[in-house]
């Protein structure tokens, strides 16, 4: 190879390298433009998705809040409050949704007051009914000579001046019962039909208790009689 041809080759090579550099720069620029435009498109579509999701969420919130407002749901009051809190937790910052939230809050508060008032009214009515029943029971008992007789006997035993006098009265009272082992129940507290009792005793022991303690702190609440009119079960209640 001559010196001339080597020089030509170098020139050619230099030109070609220069072209490659320029081409590469152009390609790089093109890729950058494509990437940027792709990025912008992606950002825009991301925003669009978020906006669409938010709009859907707002729509969903409106429907659910309206359902709460219209009382169309079968949820309990506690569940309704939970539903409201869930929607509030989305923090949608939408004027319509915020208005609906305020309305629902107001409605649920009123509903809660109504429920509370109803529960109080029910309780008052139940207590009044229990009082009425107790009064009716006591009225019938107060007129029943058997209740009066037993109550008086208990008082006599507990206030007897001597042991002998108390024992004499006990002997008079025991025949009212079918036997000296008739159970005596003493109610210490009562809530509706649920009763709490003291340790059960027998009539003989109870009469002796009155004699020993010299105080009559229980009143006759109920008696069960057999066909011969003898007491088979006695229930007392704390005065």
């Amino acid at each position: 190879m001559s010196v001339q041809s080597i020089t030509n080759l170098s020139v050619l090579k230099g030109k070609s390298m220069h072209s490659i550099y320029r081409l590469s720069a152009k390609l790089l620029m093109l890729m950058l433009v494509i990437a940027m435009s792709a990025g912008l498109t992606s950002c825009k579509s991301q925003k669009k998705i978020l906006a669409r999701e938010r709009a859907a969420k707002i729509e969903q919130a409106k429907v659910r809040l309206q359902a709460l407002l219209d009382d169309k749901s079968t949820l309990t009051l506690d569940q309704k409050f939970a539903e409201l809190n869930t929607i509030k937790g989305w923090n949608l910052n939408d004027k319509d949704v915020d208005n609906l939230i305020a309305k629902v809050e107001d409605k649920l508060s009123k509903d809660r007051d109504l429920v509370r008032k109803k529960a109080e009214d029910d309780l008052r009515a139940r207590e009044a009914e229990e009082r009425r029943q107790a009064e009716a029971r006591n009225a019938s008992k107060s007129g029943d000579p058997r209740y009066i007789k037993l109550t008086e006997s208990f008082n006599v035993i507990s206030h007897a001046a001597s042991v002998d006098m108390a024992n004499q009265k006990i002997l008079e009272v025991l025949p009212l019962f079918i036997n000296p082992d008739v159970p005596v129940l003493i109610v210490i507290s009562q809530n509706g039909s649920a009763k709490d009792y003291d340790r059960p005793t027998t009539i003989k022991r109870y009469l002796e208790y009155l004699k020993d303690q010299k105080r009559n702190i229980n009143q006759v609440d109920n008696m069960v009689f057999d066909a011969n009119g003898k007491i088979t079960e006695l229930e007392l209640i704390k005065k």
Partner: protein, 192 residues
């Protein structure tokens, strides 16, 4: 080994469940009624002590009353006795305490309990039993036939109280009741 593990787990679960069932929740009103019932049992005991201590109580009546008093206590309970004449406190089983009380060498004895109140409220234990402590003050007076009042002291005593929910059949019905039992009676202080 696997069967052994299963048995242990089953036992643990059963034990846990029984504890849960035992710990019945009590409303304030029911708790108040139980508190009052326990105080009443202590007042009953004070009356029994006064009756047995009284020289006017016939022997047969005193024996019957001792029996009733014993029924107020947990088996094996002890009662503390103190005197101004000796520093130590003696403890006796309930029946022995009452029998010694009957034999006291005085012409007349007055025993009065007062200021009966809770020093430690009834608290529910894991097995469902309520345990508390009631404190009482006892005024004791011993009289001689000729000299009159020859001995008197005031003793502060603590009584442990156990209240347990029990059930029994009466007339074919299942009756739930609160069984109040007294435990040891400890002497806290004695003075003239």
């Amino acid at each position: 080994m696997k069967k052994f593990k299963i048995t242990i787990i089953a036992l643990a679960v059963l034990l846990g469940c029984s504890t849960l069932f035992a710990q019945e929740t009590i409303s304030p009103d029911r708790k108040k009624a139980i508190d009052s019932l326990a105080l009443e049992k202590v007042r009953d005991l004070s009356k029994y002590i006064a009756l047995v201590g009284s020289k006017e109580t016939p022997w047969s009546e005193a024996q019957r009353v001792i029996q009733r008093a014993e029924e107020l206590f947990m088996p094996g309970s002890e009662m503390g006795v103190s005197s101004l004449y000796r520093p130590e406190i003696s403890y006796f089983k309930v029946r022995e305490y009452f029998e010694r009380l009957m034999r006291l060498n005085y012409e007349k004895v007055n025993i009065d309990w007062y200021n009966i109140e809770y020093v430690s409220d009834l608290e529910q234990q894991p097995d469902g039993t309520f345990v508390g402590v009631i404190t009482i003050f006892q005024r004791f007076e011993g009289f001689d036939k000729e000299k009159g009042l020859v001995y008197k002291d005031v003793t502060k005593k603590d009584i442990t109280i156990y209240v347990k929910r029990k059930e029994t059949q009466i007339g074919g019905r299942l009756i739930g009741f609160w069984d109040v039992l007294l435990g040891d009676i400890r002497v806290k202080e004695t003075h003239p």
